[in-house]
């Protein structure tokens, strides 16, 4: 017979879903057991990098896997050229970005990004501020992103005045942006310091 779409009954659909879920669980356990074994043997091969990446893309909250990647970096980085270091670390910045798009509020993802930035010989802090701008466009109240932004500004010694202007733009766009108002309360003492003490006057 032609043209008859196989429409599953709800019970059949449930059973298919259950089988699919069981397969996923089996695959997860197999993959993570392999990772534990490699870690135990200190086998930092291509498969270790690939498996941890695959698992983290599905579940970035498994801090142990980010920890293992950092351990592998710590062993690797002293033994390769600066260019290689940059290449490998940038690879993880890309991985972090992919993970962030699905999970912009995961503590372990933002922590890994900070760690990678701390390891780069030539960190691109402008790019990091742009990343923050992007994620604050997606969600202007994402405190992970605001905190990361403050880390970027501080690390790069960027100007408080520029940040003050940034908060003004955010507030103009949305008067209720409490996160921007809060940041403003921290910036004001920095952009308006007390008058010079030498003159004997107070601010």
């Amino acid at each position: 017979m032609h043209g008859r779409v196989k429409v599953r009954t709800p019970k059949e659909q449930q059973e298919v879903k259950q089988r699919e879920r069981a397969e996923k669980v089996k695959a997860y356990h197999a993959a993570i057991e392999k990772v534990y074994a490699k870690r135990e043997e200190q086998l930092h091969d291509a498969e270790a990098w690939k498996l941890t990446e695959k698992l983290l893309l599905q579940n970035p909250d498994i801090s142990t896997l980010w920890n293992f990647r950092r351990e592998m970096f710590e062993k690797l980085l002293p033994n390769v050229s600066e260019d290689q270091q940059q290449k490998q670390l940038n690879g993880d910045l890309l991985l972090v970005e992919h993970c962030l798009h699905n999970n912009p509020k995961s503590y372990s993802i933002w922590l890994h990004r900070r760690w990678v930035m701390g390891k780069l010989v030539k960190p691109d802090w402008e790019r990091e501020r742009d990343l923050c701008n992007l994620f604050l466009k997606y969600d202007e109240r994402n405190f992970h992103c605001w905190d990361y932004r403050r880390f970027v500004i501080s690390s790069a010694q960027m100007l408080a005045e520029d940040e003050f202007a940034f908060t003004y733009d955010k507030i103009t766009a949305n008067f209720s942006n409490y996160s921007a108002w809060h940041y403003r309360s921290k910036l004001l003492p920095v952009v308006r310091p007390a008058a010079c003490v030498l003159s004997g006057e107070e601010g």
Binding site: K24, N59, I62, S63, T64, R141, H182
Partner: protein, 300 residues
């Protein structure tokens, strides 16, 4: 919970066990859980460094160390693990500015200040760390609204407020809190539905019935919340089919929201639930058994 959901939450398992057991104990039903199995599981989570991971073969962290110590305290079984090594682990994570790393990878957050102080208080070893410095760091996270964030400069958030106020309470330093200012900010978390949110403009969530309410209790301002409306919201978030609580009416349930829903009800004076201690989120009778007293601010 599906098998897949269970395995996706493996990274926080020991905390899940703490949420489930504490919820059961608050309902007077702890005896229905398998104590031996739980203790065996928790023992297997301790690493040589003293810290606990969320499950076997996963790395130690302060978050899971606190959950482990809370479970062992519930079961009066601190002796099954190396308690002294736990103290050493926590001490090793305190920084010069008084803050605490979550683990040796260096994340700083006032959640970890709470985890450290609560763990040590439960073990009677608070003096192992520099308490004054710990307080100094927590206070450096106070904001214009009286609230607290995760690190200096971070926005106020009810979860963070609970951790900071709890830490200050344990340290005997609650007098630093601007109780009227913070009490007002916390009271403003209540929405027309009766539910509480975690910060301005956010949706209500049953777990904030805990973070906000216990904070208000610790600073003597719990009467600033409309209790009837909040109780109504929490009750509406209970799923009649499964019995658990969700974040808000109509959503899927989980052990996390179940515990904090019950905790909130307890603080509101609901007689179906045992009295809960607002600092530790554990049954008050457990804290009484170990003789741990933490003074709270008086109501005005």
């Amino acid at each position: 919970m599906s098998g897949q959901e269970y395995c996706m939450t493996e990274f926080l398992r020991v905390s899940g066990v703490y949420w489930g057991l504490t919820a059961m104990d608050l309902m007077g039903q702890l005896h229905r859980m398998n104590k031996e199995e739980v203790l065996h599981f928790v023992e297997g989570c301790q690493h040589p460094c003293g810290g606990f991971g969320p499950t076997h073969q996963q790395d130690p962290h302060l978050l899971y160390t606190l959950s482990a110590i809370q479970i062992l305290t519930l079961y009066d079984s601190l002796d099954v693990i190396d308690a002294e090594q736990v103290v050493k682990y926590i001490v090793s994570l305190q920084q010069e500015d008084g803050s605490f790393y979550g683990d040796h990878w260096g994340e700083v957050d006032t959640r970890f200040s709470f985890c450290s102080l609560a763990c040590l208080a439960l073990m009677g070893r608070l003096n192992a760390i520099n308490v004054d410095k710990a307080v100094e760091f927590v206070l450096s996270c106070m904001n214009f609204d009286g609230g607290f964030g995760s690190v200096p400069g971070s926005e106020s958030h009810a979860g963070q407020v609970y951790c900071c106020v709890g830490a200050l309470a344990i340290a005997g330093a609650l007098y630093h809190v601007d109780a009227d200012q913070l009490g007002w900010w916390l009271a403003e978390r209540q929405l027309p539905s009766g539910g509480l949110n975690g910060r301005p403009e956010k949706l209500p969530d049953v777990c904030y019935s805990w973070w906000v309410l216990s904070s208000l209790k610790m600073i003597g301002r719990i009467h600033w919340i409309d209790k009837e409306k909040l109780e109504h919201f929490i009750m509406a978030s209970q799923d009649e089919e499964t019995g658990g609580f969700s974040d808000r009416p109509g959503d899927w349930v989980d052990p996390f929201h179940t515990l904090f829903g019950l905790g909130g009800l307890s603080l509101l004076g609901n007689k179906q639930v045992k009295p809960v201690n607002p600092v530790f989120c554990m049954p008050q009778d457990v804290l009484d058994r170990i003789g741990l007293k933490v003074k709270l601010l008086d109501s005005v």
